[in-house]
């Protein structure tokens, strides 16, 4: 078996050739507002105190106006990212910021929080390591968008393995993997060198599993991955994975937006999302960051990761602006999955700061939501201080922007469109 044949066989297990899934090729698309939506789950439990309220200084200088200095007692623990230029226009000035957004559930489990945002449903009975029972925004998009919405046009890029890869599709009988998104777990690419894998002989099966696992799937849990791409798309994907693996992740001192060794898991994940945008210009991409969750054991490190997440979001938006076909035709939505508790916990870090958990109190349901987009669509410098908007509104908003909301059965859309953000 030659190398190309083998790869074709291997990827068959991952990505199978298909026909168009929607069956609604002639559907109207006129109400579509933009061609692309990027949704960044600014996750890990982000408390409004440290983000919007700047209780430790402005840890998010790319999103928020203000030059409040970082609390001196934790400064030593912050690996500062490059500061924005003096003429930089903060993201809050470039779009609409909901300052009193809500995650209206006391189930502050990261996986559930993600699932709520991706399905638009608080009551999905989300269980780890099991497929979702209610459809994701990816499936709604691919089934109802009325275009040739192949899997290559929708991506779920996750910063963690475990249950998170499961969020790319549900097992709902009317949706399911046929309409799922391509999923990538970039950090796993750091620990695999595809060129060095032995693709032949007895190790073949093992390596197929290794690739599956490295792509973020739990091979022991699901042998059939089910995501559908055409044969041509499979080759594009395979080439892209090789490119990422060999040109980026195999280089120890890779630049990662100028951060080098300061790049944490969030930065690497967002950087990969930017590479996906550049390569495929997907119509729907969801990416998450959640390493601010270190706040359970290290408050200062949480602040450190928060400022890196802010930097990564700005770089992702810059990337979108650098792609001609996406520049004026993309909406970016960013929101945490939930916040953190009002009261501190009991673990003290080396700077004397107490940790913060998220156990579903009222404060942990308070988050923000930022929406950026073309001038004629998204209101600029629009700060909404009222308690308006919640997590389940994001899916209907994406559906509205991509023009398929009216075709989604009502039982799957529990929220409303965040009209406050749009002209």
């Amino acid at each position: 078996m030659d190398r190309r044949s083998f790869i074709a066989n291997v990827t068959k297990g991952i990505i199978v050739p298909t026909i168009l899934p929607s069956g609604i090729l002639c559907a109207k698309t006129s109400e579509r507002k933009v061609k692309h939506v990027v949704f960044c789950l600014f996750a890990g439990g982000i408390r409004n105190f440290e983000s919007l309220h700047k209780s430790e200084g402005n840890l998010m200088p790319y999103m928020l106006l203000g030059n409040e200095s970082i609390s001196t007692d934790i400064t030593e623990g912050i690996e500062f990212v490059p500061s924005p230029h003096s003429n930089y226009k903060q993201l809050e000035k470039q779009g609409t910021l909901f300052k009193e957004f809500r995650y209206k559930s006391d189930e502050t489990i990261h996986y559930s929080g993600h699932a709520v945002s991706i399905t638009g449903n608080y009551k999905g009975n989300f269980q780890i390591m099991k497929p979702l029972a209610v459809p994701t925004v990816f499936e709604m998009f691919r089934k109802h968008s009325g275009t040739d919405s192949t899997a290559l046009k929708s991506w779920w890029i996750t910063d963690q393995a475990g249950p998170f890869p499961y969020l790319n599709h549900s097992n709902h009988p009317e949706y399911g993997p046929l309409y799922g998104a391509n999923m990538l777990h970039p950090l796993s690419l750091q620990s695999i060198d595809l060129n060095k894998l032995n693709f032949f002989g007895d190790e073949t099966i093992k390596n197929i599993r290794a690739i599956k696992e490295k792509l973020g799937y739990n091979a022991s849990a699901t042998e059939t991955l089910g995501i559908i791409n055409s044969e041509e798309e499979r080759y594009k994907l395979e080439a892209f994975i090789y490119q990422l693996s060999n040109n980026i992740f195999s280089k120890r001192d890779y630049n990662f937006w100028g951060l080098g060794k300061k790049a944490n898991e969030d930065i690497i994940t967002m950087y990969t999302a930017a590479e996906v945008l550049k390569k495929f210009q997907p119509e729907l991409l969801v990416v998450n960051m959640q390493h601010s969750d270190i706040g359970h054991s290290n408050f200062t490190q949480m602040c450190n990761n928060l400022q890196k997440a802010d930097y990564a979001l700005a770089q992702l938006w810059n990337t979108i602006q650098s792609i001609p076909s996406m520049k004026d035709d993309t909406v970016l939505i960013a929101a945490p999955e939930f916040g953190r508790n009002l009261n501190s916990s009991t673990v003290r870090d080396k700077y004397g700061r107490l940790s913060v958990d998220h156990t579903g109190d009222e404060n942990s349901q308070k988050i923000f939501c930022l929406i950026l987009g073309p001038d004629n669509l998204v209101k600029k410098g629009n700060i909404i201080n009222d308690v308006v908007g919640e997590s389940i509104d994001i899916v209907p908003t994406i559906a509205e922007l991509l023009g398929f909301r009216s075709r989604v059965p009502k039982q799957f859309l529990h929220g409303r469109v965040l009209n406050e953000a749009f002209n």
Binding site: D106, E107, I109, H110, Y111, I128, M129, Q160, A161, G162, P163, F164, Q190, S191, I192, D193, K196, S250, K251, R252, Q290, D293, I294, H296, S297, N341, N343, S345, T346, V347, S355, D357, T359, G360, D361
Partner: protein
């Protein structure tokens, strides 16, 4: 012709002599019991692994580290608590024989350890079943024995392993297990792994300085347990201190040891055993088809 025959005879005789002189210093012992039958194995398999070793939780991100049998045991029994309740009431995560003093038991039974709704496992809204809680309670009450059925020694009686330094030269590879080990003439332990992506490894085991004096009087053995199916292959290797250092090294040998997939390492001192932990998120690294050095 006769000369040639004599020459062959001499070569064969010499080879037989050499082979007869080689004695393995690594000694395989018969298993005491199936590891799978141990209480701790069952708890790990039924509870810690599926419900706790989850991405973003206790998979090396936060302690206790439930990524492996060894890391689970080592970060529980007589391990000081990091997160205490507001009264600072607990000292260790597991105190053998005492569920009330074990924060592990508290976390799985108390709804509100620090905050409301913070019972573990956090992902399991209904909490552990009564049967699962009983499994953990019984294990603690029975002395929190390890997978070998050994009772943990009282804390700090045995020398504390201060540091295990593992360095690797490759940026690739997060998973790799040592499959074979042997010694060279310098007394270094050499290891081989199935992992192809790592160039070399270096492991130093340092004994805590304060316990040095006492430690010098003890005899140390490194025990290696291996094999994927937990068939309990065990080897014991005597360890000695490098003079004027706190570094233990294995004794001289040329014997190749194949333990299969290395599962567990521990050091035995004068019949008492101590388990040691690797830094979280770390396994042993080495290179396929090349011998690499582990200094002990």
């Amino acid at each position: 012709m006769i000369l040639r025959f004599k020459l062959w005879f001499l070569i064969i005789a010499f080879t037989i002599f050499i082979l007869s002189e080689i004695k393995p210093i690594a000694k395989e012992k018969e298993p005491d019991l199936s590891l799978k039958e141990s209480q701790f194995f069952k708890i790990y398999e039924k509870i810690f692994q599926p419900s706790c070793a989850i991405a973003g939780c206790h998979n090396g991100e936060f302690e206790p580290n439930f990524t492996s049998l060894q890391s689970s045991y080592n970060t529980l029994v007589y391990h000081p608590v990091i997160k205490n309740n507001r009264k600072d009431a607990f000292k260790y995560r597991v105190v053998p024989g005492d569920t009330a003093a074990s924060v592990l038991f508290e976390r799985i039974t108390n709804c509100c350890f620090v905050d409301v709704n913070d019972r573990m496992p956090f992902y399991d809204k209904d909490g552990l079943s009564q049967e699962e809680i009983s499994l953990i309670a019984d294990w603690i009450k029975n002395g929190a024995k390890d997978i070998f059925g050994d009772s943990p020694s009282a804390q700090f009686v045995l020398p504390k392993i201060e540091q295990i330094q593992i360095s690797k030269k490759s940026k690739l590879g997060e998973i790799g297990v040592v499959t074979e080990m042997f010694y060279n003439e310098l007394g270094e332990v050499l290891a081989q792994s199935i992992d192809k992506n790592v160039d070399s490894i270096l492991v130093n085991i340092n004994i805590h300085q304060n316990q040095m004096e006492d430690s010098q009087d003890h005899q140390y053995f490194l025990q290696l347990y291996g094999d994927k199916d937990y068939s309990h292959q065990r080897y014991e290797l005597p360890l000695t201190f490098i003079p004027n250092t706190m570094i233990l090294k294995a004794a001289l040998s040329g014997e190749i040891i194949n333990v299969g997939e290395l599962l567990y390492l521990r050091i035995e001192v004068k019949g008492k055993k101590t388990n040691f932990s690797f830094p979280s998120k770390t396994t042993l690294y080495s290179l396929r088809n090349k011998w690499v050095i582990i200094k002990l």
